[in-house]
C-alpha cells in the first residue's frame, strides 16, 4: 500500500477515534444515570434548574444547565480522582498547602486590655496541667513546608492551620462571659477549646513558616480573659504531649476518640476524679484503612491522602450505649451513642459518635443514680468527647450551638443541670463566623 493510501486510512482512523470519543462521552452524558449526591464532597450535586422566564431571559437558566451537566456527569468522582492522581505529579508534593490565603492578627500578650463586652478583665493564668511523670515520645512533625492558609499536607497527613482573629476571638470571649453572667449562679461553667491538628502535631517552626498563629497562646489569651468563675479545661498541652499517638485524623479535621479521651482526662483532673482507663472500654473499629474525611474533600482529594486513609476507633461507654436525640425538624429518635459506623460510608464515619451534630440530645445512664446532670454545648469535636462523660453522670444533655433552637439558660433551668461545658474548636468559635449562634447572646 502506498503512503498516500496509508495517510487516508490514518486520517479516517483519527476522525473515527475522535468522533467515537465525542459520541460515547455525549451519549453517556445523555442516557447514563447521573449521580445526585457526592459522598466524597458530602453534598448534593447540582439539580436540573427549574424553568422560569426570568431565568431564561437573564441567562441564569442556561448557566445552571451547564453546571448541572458538569456537576452530575456520570463517573464524575472517578474522573476527579484521575485528575487528582495526575495533579499529584505536578511537582514535588510530599508537602503542600491547599486553601486560601489568610493573614493572622498578632496575639496580644497577657497585659493588654480585656475585650469590649461584659465579663471581666481577668489576669489570672489558666490552670496549668500537671507535668507528665514519664516523658512521652515526641510525635511532632518537623517537616518545614510553609504556606498561608488552608490545609497543610505533609507525608500523607493533612493538618488544619490556625489563624488568630482578634475581633473574632474577642467576640467569642465576650459571648462566654455574657453567658456566664446569665447562668453562672446556677451552674459550674467550663470552657473547652479544642485546637486544630496543625497546632498540636506540627513543629512550631512550621506554623511560623506558614504564617499561622500559636493556637496554644491564643487559648491562653482566651482563658486569661474569661470570667474567673469560668473554669477552662486545659487540653492543649496534654494533646501536644501525646502527639506521637493517633489523636487526630490524618484526612479529617477532627480529633480521634483518643484525642478526646485526653481532653476527658484533663476534665477528670479538674474534677478530682480518677479517669477510666482505655482498656476498661470495648473498642470498636470502623472504616479500617478506608476513612477519608473532610480534609480529603476540602483539599481537593489529593492523591497522597487517598494513599493514607484513616481508621475510626470508638470506645463504647460502660454504663449505657443508648441515647435519644431531636432532629432539626423536631423528630425524636433513639440510637446508640457509638452506633454502627459502617452505615455512614467511608467519608462520614465520624458521624458514628453521639448522633453527630443535632439540635438536642440526651443520655440517661441508669448505672448512676446520684442525680448528677451535665450539659455540653458543643460543635462536632464534642461528638467524640461526650461518650467519655457517660460513665460519670446520670444525665447528659447536649446541644450543638449551631443548630439548637434553645438558649442554654432555658435548658439549664428545664433540666436542672449542675454543670455546663462549652466545647468549641477554637478556630471555628473565634473565626467571627459564629457570632450570634449562641442564642443566649444573640446577634
Amino acid at each position: 500500500m502506498d503512503r498516500e493510501w496509508q495517510n487516508v486510512i490514518l486520517r479516517m482512523m483519527k476522525v473515527a477515534a475522535f468522533a467515537l470519543t465525542l459520541g460515547v462521552m455525549g451519549i453517556v452524558g445523555l442516557v447514563w444515570p447521573r449521580p445526585e449526591v457526592s459522598a466524597v464532597e458530602k453534598r448534593e450535586l447540582t439539580g436540573f434548574p427549574a424553568f422560569s422566564l426570568a431565568s431564561l431571559w437573564d441567562g441564569s437558566y442556561f448557566s445552571a444547565i451547564d453546571t448541572w451537566y458538569a456537576d452530575t456527569y456520570p463517573m464524575r468522582e472517578d474522573l476527579i480522582a484521575a485528575q487528582q492522581e495526575m495533579e499529584s505529579r505536578y511537582g514535588l508534593r510530599q508537602t503542600q498547602m491547599i486553601g486560601g490565603n489568610v493573614v493572622a492578627d498578632a496575639i496580644p500578650t497577657g497585659d493588654q486590655d480585656a475585650p469590649a463586652g461584659t465579663g471581666g478583665a481577668v489576669e489570672e493564668s489558666p490552670p496549668t496541667p500537671e507535668p507528665t511523670a514519664t516523658p512521652l515520645p515526641d510525635g511532632t512533625v518537623h517537616e518545614i513546608g510553609e504556606y498561608v492558609g488552608g490545609v497543610y499536607i505533609t507525608d500523607g497527613s493533612a493538618y488544619g492551620a490556625y489563624y488568630f482573629s482578634q475581633s473574632g476571638t474577642d467576640a467569642y470571649i465576650s459571648t462566654m462571659n455574657q453567658i456566664y453572667e446569665n447562668i453562672g449562679d446556677k451552674v459550674h461553667m467550663y470552657v473547652l477549646n479544642a485546637p486544630l491538628s496543625a497546632s498540636v502535631m506540627l513543629d512550631e517552626n512550621v506554623w511560623a513558616d506558614m504564617g499561622c498563629s500559636d493556637e496554644g497562646a491564643a487559648i491562653e489569651y482566651i482563658n486569661g480573659k474569661l470570667d474567673p468563675g469560668i473554669t477552662p479545661i486545659p487540653v492543649y498541652d496534654t494533646l501536644r504531649a501525646h502527639n506521637a499517638e493517633y489523636i487526630y485524623f490524618r484526612t479529617d479535621h477532627h480529633w480521634t476518640a483518643l484525642g478526646a479521651y485526653y481532653a476527658y482526662r484533663e476534665f477528670c483532673a479538674l474534677k478530682g476524679w480518677t479517669p477510666h482507663e482505655l482498656d476498661q472500654f470495648e473498642m470498636r473499629t470502623y472504616a479500617e484503612g478506608r476513612y477519608l474525611g473532610t480534609y480529603y474533600t476540602t483539599s481537593g482529594q489529593p492523591a497522597q491522602l487517598t494513599q493514607n486513609p484513616d481508621t475510626v476507633y470508638a470506645y463504647v461507654p460502660m454504663g449505657t450505649n443508648h441515647m435519644e436525640m431531636t432532629l432539626e425538624d423536631g423528630t425524636e429518635m433513639e440510637l446508640a451513642i457509638i452506633t454502627d459506623g459502617s452505615v455512614f460510608g467511608d467519608h462520614d464515619t465520624y458521624c458514628l459518635f453521639a448522633g453527630a451534630d443535632r439540635p438536642f440530645s440526651h443520655i440517661h445512664n441508669d448505672a448512676i443514680q446520684d442525680g448528677s446532670a451535665i450539659m455540653v454545648v458543643k460543635d462536632s469535636y464534642g461528638n467524640a468527647f461526650i461518650p467519655w462523660l457517660v460513665d460519670h453522670y446520670e444525665d447528659i444533655y447536649w446541644v450543638d450551638y449551631r443548630y439548637t433552637h434553645n438558649t442554654v439558660s432555658e435548658l439549664v433551668e428545664k433540666y436542672g443541670v449542675q454543670e455546663v461545658i462549652f466545647e468549641a474548636a477554637t478556630s471555628l468559635a473565634t473565626s467571627g463566623q459564629c457570632n450570634g449562634m449562641y442564642l443566649d447572646v444573640g446577634v
Binding site: 496509508q6 490514518l10 486520517r11 475522535f18 462521552m25 485528575q83 495526575m86 511537582g91 493573614v103
Partner: protein, 478 residues
C-alpha cells in the same frame, strides 16, 4: 456557553459537527451553523441576542447604503454614521459606568451610576462588523445582500465571543463554498483537542497558582513577599497566553473541521526579541485591526516623529481601552505604546541589534510579565501594592517558605507550561512527521500518535473540567 465546558464539548459540539456532516448543501450547512451560533450566543441570556441582531442590522444596512452611493461624500456619511452607531452602542454598554464613575469622583455627579451589564463578546463582534463596513467602504469586499449571512459572520460561535477578530473577506468565501478537506479535518481535530487540553489543564492549572499569589485581598497581597509576586506574575503570564491562545486554537480547529479558515491569532509571542515583534505575534487579529483601521488611516509611520508619536499614543490608548473600561487597561496600553516608541525612536534597529539575543528575549519577557500585573489589577491601589511587592517594598522579605513550597509543588507542571508557550512541541511534531516519511517503523508510531493523541487530550480535559464548574476564559470580559 464556553468551549471549555462539558456541555459544549460532549453535547453541543458533537451535535453541531453532526449537522455539518449530514447536511450536504452549503446553504443548509450555513442555516444550521447560524441556528447553533444563535443558541450558543443566547446561552448567556437571549436579551443580548437582540443587541447582536440590531448591530448586524445597522451594519448590513450601512454597508448596503455605502455600496448604493456613487458620491464620496455620501459613502463617507454612511460609513461615519454606521461606524459611529456601532461605537456608540459599544461605548454605552462598555464605558458608561467607567465614564460616569470618573465624572462622579471628579465632580460628585451623577449620584447614581447605572449598572450596565457588558453583553458577551460585544467588543469582538463590534470590531468584526466595523471591519466589514470599512472594507465595503474601501471597495475591498462587496456588501452582503443577505442579512442572515452577515449575521452568521458576526455570530459564528467559533469566534463570536472571544475572537479571533475574523475579517469578512476571509470567511465569506468559505461560507459560500464550504469545502472540507480530509487533511484539514484531521488538523482541525488535533488543533481543537490541543486547545481544549491547553485551556482545561494548563491554563486553569496556572490560574490556581496565580490566584493564590496575586490576590485581591489588600492585606494578603501586602504580606506576599517579592518572590511570591514574581511567581504569581510568572504563572499569570503563562496563564493568559495559554488561556487565550487555547481559545483561538479551538476556534481555528473547529473552523477547519467545518471548512472555515481563520487566520492565526498567536505566533508564540513569548519567543519575541522585541516588543514590536511581541505585538506582531500576540492577538494578531486585534493588532492588525488597529493597524489597518486606525493606525494607517491616521498616517501610520509615514509622517513626522511628532505625528507618529501621537498615532502610537492614540492606537495604544484605544488598545488598552478595548481590553476593559478601567484605568489600568489604559495604563497597560500606554505602557506598550511607550515601549514601542522607545524601541522605534530611541533604540532603533541598530540599538536593538546591539543587544545580545538572550538579553533582548529576557528583557521582553520581563517587560511583558510586568504588563500582566498592570492588566490583572483594575483597582489601582491593589496594583500599587503588587508593584511594590514585586520590588520588595512591602517590607515582608524577599521570599518565604510558602512560595518555595508552592513552586516545588508545581515544578514539573510549570515546566510543561513553559514548554507549551514555545514552539518546541510543534517542531518536535514536524520532525516526527518528517522521520515518519522516511521510516516505516516510525510511520507506525506516528500513526498511533495521530489517532490516540486527540482522544487522550479530550479525556484529560474532561477529567479537569468535571470538577471545575467555574472556568471562564479571561477574554470573556472584553
Amino acid at each position: 456557553m464556553v468551549f471549555s465546558s462539558m456541555l459544549f464539548v460532549f453535547l453541543f459540539l458533537p451535535a453541531n459537527l453532526l449537522s455539518q456532516i449530514l447536511i450536504r448543501s452549503p446553504r443548509g450547512k450555513n442555516i444550521a451553523m447560524l441556528a447553533f451560533s444563535l443558541v450558543f450566543y443566547s446561552w448567556a441570556g437571549p436579551r443580548y441576542l437582540l443587541l447582536l441582531l440590531g448591530m448586524v442590522l445597522i451594519c448590513w444596512l450601512g454597508a448596503l447604503g455605502i455600496a448604493g452611493r456613487e458620491d464620496a461624500g455620501g459613502r463617507k456619511a454612511y460609513l461615519a454614521v454606521t461606524v459611529g452607531l456601532c461605537l456608540l452602542i459599544l461605548g454605552v454598554f462598555k464605558y458608561t459606568g467607567f465614564f460616569l464613575g470618573n465624572l462622579q469622583s471628579l465632580f460628585g455627579v451623577p449620584e447614581v451610576i447605572p449598572q450596565i451589564a457588558l453583553p458577551i463578546g460585544i467588543s469582538f463582534y463590534t470590531f468584526q462588523l466595523i471591519s466589514y463596513v470599512a472594507d465595503v467602504y474601501r471597495g475591498e469586499v462587496k456588501p452582503q445582500r443577505r442579512y442572515w449571512l452577515l449575521l452568521l459572520y458576526a455570530s459564528l460561535f467559533h469566534q463570536c465571543i472571544a475572537g479571533p477578530i475574523v475579517r469578512y473577506r476571509d470567511v465569506n468565501r468559505d461560507l459560500v463554498r464550504r469545502r472540507t478537506k480530509p487533511e484539514e479535518i484531521s488538523a482541525g481535530i488535533s488543533r481543537f483537542a490541543v486547545g481544549l487540553a491547553k485551556k482545561a489543564v494548563l491554563a486553569n492549572g496556572c490560574a490556581v497558582i496565580a490566584d493564590q499569589l496575586l490576590v485581591f485581598d489588600a492585606g494578603v497581597l501586602a504580606a506576599t513577599p517579592a518572590m511570591g509576586v514574581l511567581l504569581g506574575a510568572f504563572a499569570f503570564t503563562l496563564q493568559i497566553y495559554l488561556d487565550f491562545s487555547a481559545y483561538s486554537d479551538m476556534a481555528i480547529g473547529m473552523g477547519l473541521m467545518c471548512g472555515l479558515h481563520y487566520r492565526e491569532n498567536f505566533d508564540y509571542p513569548y519567543m519575541s526579541g522585541s516588543i514590536t515583534e511581541f505585538w506582531r505575534r500576540w492577538h494578531i487579529s486585534l493588532s492588525s485591526f488597529f493597524r489597518d483601521y486606525v493606525y494607517i488611516p491616521l498616517g501610520g509611520s509615514r509622517c513626522g516623529t511628532g505625528r507618529q508619536l501621537f498615532n502610537l499614543f492614540v492606537v495604544w490608548s484605544l488598545t488598552g481601552m478595548w481590553h476593559g473600561a478601567s484605568w489600568n487597561f489604559i495604563l497597560w496600553g500606554i505602557y506598550f505604546g511607550a515601549l514601542l516608541a522607545i524601541e522605534r525612536f530611541v533604540l532603533g534597529k541598530d540599538g536593538q541589534r546591539f543587544l545580545p539575543q538572550a538579553l533582548r528575549h529576557g528583557g521582553v519577557l520581563i517587560l511583558v510579565a510586568f504588563s500582566w500585573i498592570i492588566f490583572k489589577y483594575t483597582d489601582m491601589a491593589l496594583l500599587g501594592t503588587a508593584v511594590k511587592g514585586l520590588f520588595g517594598l512591602n517590607h515582608n522579605g524577599f521570599s518565604s517558605g510558602s512560595v518555595t513550597l508552592l513552586f516545588k509543588n508545581n515544578l514539573f507542571f510549570l515546566l510543561v507550561c513553559v514548554i507549551a508557550v514555545t514552539p518546541l512541541a510543534k517542531r518536535a511534531g514536524e520532525r516526527f512527521r518528517a522521520l515518519a516519511g522516511r521510516s516505516e517503523a516510525v510511520y507506525m508510531l506516528y500513526g498511533v500518535y495521530q489517532v490516540v493523541h486527540p482522544v487522550l487530550l479530550l479525556l484529560l480535559a474532561a477529567m479537569a473540567l468535571v470538577g471545575d464548574s467555574y472556568n471562564p476564559f479571561l477574554y470573556f470580559q472584553f
